[in-house]
Every structure is written in structure tokens, then in C-alpha cells.
């Protein structure tokens, strides 16, 4: 098979394996670890829509996680509305907030945009921490909101609570696969091209018909919507949310750092980042948090600095090159002919070798 087929088959195999995993792994603890891993991979992928594709640096994205979590939880606790519906409501609300934040700030210079997002998430966190009741809605300030679990051993789809970990596993895995498919589709579409060109050189892009600001804001709204879904999932998984769990700079930074180390702007980047870093940070947190507190954050920070100094586009590129070479070794037929390139616009999905990497001699003139 050709290289591209090989890579596609690998991807399919991995996905199928992931879906089949709970049949082999029965321990709730391990499943929980994987669930959180997928959740982070999901959140960094949605972050990437703004931070990677749109080319700006959002450092306050956890605000959308918080909006999703709080919206669905309040609707459930106070009005008995199913968290699934609450999830959608929260996502729409988040999209609106994302639009409102994005419209004025996405025109600014990168540093100011980053600062604005930080100011938003901190401002909202401070607000929620200090407000008990917002009109008829109970926010409960710093104490957070508790979702009472259903009768032990019972699960209810409607209530978005399950007795075992498997349903949560499948839900988050499905969400992750869906979001990856979505970002992949976007990257190949007009929006993807426009975002990428607008992020790289707005003047040139504008001259080609790209309303850069509008596309960036749209990307922001989409990203906010999708991120909020994760907020609801988190709330239903842990059954307890409070401002410092879902509205912190820490979470915002962690998402950004993981995506940056993995490689923003590529589709595989955030996932690879999450796969590499989450185990490390979890490990050091579990084993060292009493003796060496904060070690996992130091590690994350140091890794970030080192990667930014030597591989600012992220670790995915060199890793995928290794994957390329593996594929070349396993491929039995030559790659598709260069006349019909089906390479996507963005890096991260490797270009099949055999494409002329340097300019060929001049062709005849018209």
C-alpha cells in the first residue's frame, strides 16, 4: 500500500483500539486516568482552533470551561433540566461570550490579546467567587456547586450520570474523535486557509479578500462552543465544581502550554502534547506533591521554555518525521503521482515525500 494509505490505516487502527480498550482494561482507576487524558486532549484541540489556526495566544480559555460547567449544573440543580440540554445551552452561551470577547480583542496585538483573555478569566473568576446569588441563579461563591449523585449503582443517561466509568469513557472518546474530525475538516476548508493566511500575514490576506477579523472571531466562537461542552462533561464526571477548579489561569495556562509544546497549528500537535505531558505532570503531582510541591508545574514550565527555544513549532514536527520514515519503510508501492496532490493546507499531517521540495527548472512561458 502507499504511504498515505499506511498512515490512514494506522489512524483507523488506533481509533478502533481506543474504542475497544474498555473491553480489556477493567480497572476504574485506569479508565479514569484515560478519561482525563482524553478530556485534556479535547480541550487543547479546541484551544488550538484559536491559538493555532487563528494564530493568536488565548491565555484565558478556561473561562469557557467554567461557563459550560456552571450553566449545565445550575440548570440541573435549580430547574431539573437534563445536563445534555444544559450542555448545549452552556455551549451557546460560551459562543456568545467568546464572540463578545473576541470582537474587540482579536484586532489587537498579540500581547494585548493574551492579556485581555487573562483579564477576562480572572475577572469572571473573582466575580463568581464573590457572588452567592446572581438574580435567581445560585452560584454559591467559592464553595462551588455540588451535584448530588443518583442512588449508588444507578445510572441515568438523562441525568448524565453513570454507575461505572465506561459510559464516560465512550462519551469523551466520541467527543474527541468528533472534534478532531471537525478541526481536520476546517483546516482543509476555506475557513482554514483564510485563518492560516490571516494569522500569518493579515495585510496580504486582506488584499486577497479575507476579512481577517471576522474569521478570527468566528474561530473564537466555535472554539468557545466546543470548549464549553468539555466543561459540562467535567462537571458531570466529578460532580463538584468551584471557581478554582474550572475558572483558573492555571487551567488556561496548562491548555496553552500543552498545545504549544505539542505544536500549535497542527491537528496532531495538541494530542501529542497531551499524551506526552499529562502523564508526566500527573505522575509528579501524585508522587511528589507532598515532598516537592509544584514540581509538576516547574517541569511543565521548563519543558515549555526549552521547547520554545529549540523547536518553537512544537514537538509534533520532528515526531511526525519519524512516523514518515516508518511509513516509508512499510510502504510497498510508490506514493500517489504528484499531479494530484491531496495534501492538506496545514502542517501536522505529513506531506508525502516525492513532492519536489525545491523549485524545478523554469517551464515554458505562456
Amino acid at each position: 500500500m502507499t504511504q498515505q494509505k499506511f498512515k490512514r490505516n494506522c489512524l483507523i487502527a488506533v481509533t478502533l483500539a481506543a474504542f475497544a480498550l474498555p473491553l480489556a482494561v477493567r480497572s476504574a482507576t485506569y479508565l479514569h486516568i484515560l478519561i482525563i487524558l482524553y478530556l485534556y486532549a479535547y480541550m487543547t484541540t479546541t484551544w488550538n482552533l484559536v491559538g493555532g489556526f487563528a494564530g493568536v495566544l488565548p491565555l484565558g480559555h478556561s473561562v469557557f470551561v467554567g461557563i459550560g460547567a456552571y450553566t449545565s449544573t445550575i440548570l440541573w440543580l435549580q430547574y431539573g433540566i437534563s445536563p445534555w440540554i444544559g450542555m448545549l445551552v452552556g455551549a451557546v452561551l460560551a459562543a456568545g461570550v467568546g464572540y463578545l470577547i473576541g470582537k474587540p480583542t482579536l484586532k489587537m496585538r498579540g500581547a494585548y490579546f493574551a492579556l485581555s483573555t487573562m483579564a477576562f478569566v480572572e475577572g469572571i473568576r473573582v466575580m463568581v467567587e464573590n457572588i452567592d446569588m446572581l438574580g435567581p441563579l445560585k452560584l454559591n461563591g467559592p464553595r462551588g456547586l455540588n451535584i448530588p449523585p443518583l442512588q449508588a449503582g444507578e445510572g441515568s443517561f438523562w441525568a448524565f450520570q453513570f454507575a461505572s466509568k465506561e459510559p464516560y469513557y465512550y462519551i469523551i472518546l466520541t467527543m474527541l474523535v468528533a472534534v478532531l474530525a471537525m478541526t481536520s475538516a476546517i483546516s482543509r476548508s476555506k475557513m482554514g486557509y483564510y485563518l492560516k493566511s490571516g494569522g500569518e500575514d493579515p495585510d496580504a490576506a486582506q488584499a486577497l479578500g479575507v476579512n481577517v477579523a471576522r474569521y478570527k472571531v468566528t474561530a473564537m466562537a466555535i472554539s468557545s462552543f466546543l470548549t464549553a461542552l468539555a466543561g459540562t462533561f467535567l462537571a458531570q464526571l466529578t460532580l463538584f465544581i468551584y471557581p478554582k477548579s474550572v475558572l483558573t489561569l492555571d487551567l488556561s495556562f496548562e491548555l496553552a502550554f500543552i498545545a504549544l509544546i505539542g505544536g500549535r497549528g497542527s491537528i496532531a500537535g495538541p494530542i501529542i502534547g497531551a499524551l506526552l505531558l499529562r502523564p508526566v505532570t500527573e505522575f509528579s503531582r501524585i508522587y511528589f506533591s507532598s515532598s516537592l510541591p509544584g514540581l509538576h508545574l516547574i517541569i511543565l514550565g521548563v519543558v515549555l521554555i526549552v521547547v520554545m527555544l529549540y523547536q518553537p513549532r512544537g514537538l509534533t514536527e520532528p515526531l511526525l518525521r519519524i512516523f514518515d520514515r516508518l511509513a516509508a519503510r512499510f510502504a510497498t508501492t510508490p506514493p500517489d503521482s504528484p499531479d494530484t496532490p491531496d495534501t492538506p493546507a496545514l502542517p501536522g499531517i505529513p506531506v508525502a515525500p516525492g513532492a519536489p521540495a525545491t523549485a524545478s527548472p523554469r517551464e515554458e512561458r505562456p
Partner: protein
Amino acid sequence: MDPVFLAQDCINGVLMGLIYGLVALGLTLIFGVLKVINFAHGSFLMVGMYVAYWTVTLSGLSPYPALVIIIPAMFLFGYWVQHLLIRPIFIAEKNVREPITVIIVTTGLWYVLDNLALLVFGPDYRALHPNPLKGQMLEMGEIFVSVPKLYGAMATLATAGGLHLFLQHTRLGRAVRATSLDREAASLMGIGQWKIFNIAFGIGTAVAGISGAVLTPFYNVYPTVGIPFDIKSFVIVVLGGLGSIWGALVGGVIIGLIESIGPNFMTSTWTEGIVYALFLLVLFVKPSGLFGQKQDW
């Protein structure tokens, strides 16, 4: 409301505001020359405070004389951070209009420094000891003015004045200004831009060191002490205009006044909220701030 208390609040607000201005001064200077916003600024302040704390504790000097040690130490710290961490990025990304990677790296540095301090010094709040200035008040009629804050405000004015003189009247200072106005032209004139950047960063960090010495007599030291100051510094610097020394002081005073007078009318958390709201307002309406130069935002 009692006019005496109001007056007292105003005076303390101005004094504290000037001190905030001092904290923001380092940030605005670094931006003015290097055109980067050092996201690790709060952590640098924290480092400055710990340096001040340990210098006093170990040497027995009181904080202001200890500046003799603090300033050079912090200068070197900043100099090397710029040289080792930021310069490589500038070189690698010289075609990029605004190297966002610098923001990322300084944010990472923030994380590392804060958590390293947590690891090494523990989370305890430390109060300066010995502290000859502790709790001292100056009585002016019915108004009580905090003496350490008064000293701090004077230190701010001295530092700002000193920087102004340095930039306007010394050769090195003029070289710094030239580099900030036009990097390439300055380097064509034989001004080594990397050295200038390192020095500018060093000076900005040294100012953070001065702030540390100023704050420790009346503010506790702990690993994440930089964070509230960090955010306020950003607000002040944006408010006053990036790169403007006097803008930093004016911006600081505004924030200081809001903080001291505000609680008479609302809870302190709402006062904090007002600071954020003001920040966002300035960003949206006049991002170049009160005294900043017009840039292509």
C-alpha cells in the same frame, strides 16, 4: 463621609499608587526598549522581594541600605535572563513582527519561578525581620501616614528621576533610547543592540529589586506574591502608556486611589473588579494609554 478619613485615604492612595508605579516602571522600561511585555514581571518582583528579605535577614542591614546588594544582584539576574532566554528567540524570529514566542517563554518562566520559590522557600508568608520601619506612622494633625509607604513613594520618585536623567543625559542612556526608537538604525551607528537589550532588561529587573526592598517592610513575602502586582502592573502600564516612565507613575496613582477610596463605597472585591474593567476599557478605547506613543494596534 469624614473628610479627614477621605484625606487620609487620598494620601495613602497616592503613596501606594506611586509604589505601584515603581513596580510597573521596570515593566514599562523593558517594553519601551525591547518591545516585549515581560509576562514574568510579577515573578521578578517576587524574586526581588525574596532577595531583599534574605539580604536583610542574613546581613542585618535594613532594607534601604541593602539596596547596595539588591540592585546589582537583580541587574545581573535580568541581564542573563535576557541574554540566555530571550535573545535566541529574537534571533530566530527576526522577521516576525511580534515574536509571540517571547510571551510564551516569559509565561513559562513565570510558572517556573513561582513554583521554584514555593519549592525552595515553602508557602509561608514571611514578614521582614529585623524591621525598623515596621508599623511606623507619621502623624500630621489627625491624619496618619504610613512611614514605609512614604519612604517607598520617595524611592519611587528618586528612581524615576534617576532613570530620566540616565536616559536623557548619559551616553549609555541615549544609546538605550536610540535603540528603542529604531533598532536597525542604532545598530548601524555602532550601538551593539544585544548589549543594550541586556542592559535594559537588567535595569528593568533592578527596578523590580528596588520595588522588592520598598515593599518588604510592609508587605509579606510569599511565593505567589507577584501575581496581584503582576496584573496591576499590566493595567498600569497599559493605562499610562507602554514605555512612558511618567505614565507608569500616573497610572499607578490612579490605581492606588481607586484601591484606597473605593472600599468606602463598595466591597474590596468589587474594587478589584473595577481595576479589571478599567483595564479592558483602556484596551478597547485607547490602547496606547495616556502617555504612550501611537502604535499600529
